[in-house]
Amino acid sequence: MNTVSVRIPMPLRSYTRGADEIMVDAATVRQALELLGTQHEGILDRVLDPSGELRQFVNIFVGARNVQVLDGLATPLAKGDVISIIPAVAGGRHDRSRPMAC
């Protein structure tokens, strides 16, 4: 078990009573997220889907590296690692319900 910090982005801080960083003792990314979820109800649903996989709209970084290029949720953690929850940001003017003249 290693003490690591999980950085919480502003859109998810309503689950952590405003805290931007949560410390947990965990050996893997999955374990860290699950501990976060037990401490702060509701937040895990925003990060993992019902089958326990990472949601499409969320990225997890350990340090500067996306867990996608590491071992995914099984990525092992070392003491002092920083896990960042990075919301996927997308959008654009494309609008199927925009007004059309004719």
Partner: protein, 137 residues
């Protein structure tokens, strides 16, 4: 709630909007949020990963957002929102924007046409959809 965007930062956004036209440009807003105000103190330009549909879609490189988070942290600030452009389109959130938006963040939309950049508008998602927030310099 008011959103403060200093004039120099607005000029930076306008320049990027013009440069990337007719593609959508996007990036991150760094600043501080208090009860009644979001004060933007830095803007970051990100990469639009959606190259296939860049004229009407954007997808911010998550690496850029991570870097912006780290930069904000080092300044004692926060990532308070996202900016993006709407080429040839009003500065209102689209259905695509709504579908991908996160609560609590400010979404700043910069309308841009071939030869001019329009007034940016600030929006924030709540339970009923996007609500416009007053934008001041």
């Amino acid at each position: 709630m008011t959103v403060r965007l200093p004039r120099n930062l607005r000029h930076a956004l306008e320049a990027w909007a013009r440069e990337d036209y007719p593609q959508e440009a996007c990036g991150v807003l760094i600043g501080r949020q208090t009860g009644t105000e979001v004060a933007i103190s830095d803007v970051v330009r990100g990469r639009n990963l959606n190259t296939e549909r860049a004229p009407d879609r954007f997808e911010l490189d998550p690496q850029d957002l991570l870097r912006a988070e780290e930069r904000a942290l080092s300044l004692g600030l926060d990532v308070v929102g996202i900016w993006h452009t709407h080429p040839d389109h009003p500065a209102r959130p689209s259905e695509t924007d709504r579908a991908h938006a996160w609560e609590a963040w400010i979404y700043l939309i910069v309308p841009v046409r071939k030869d001019e950049v329009g007034e940016p508008r600030a929006w924030r998602l709540n339970r009923n959809g996007f609500a416009e927030k007053e934008l001041k310099s």
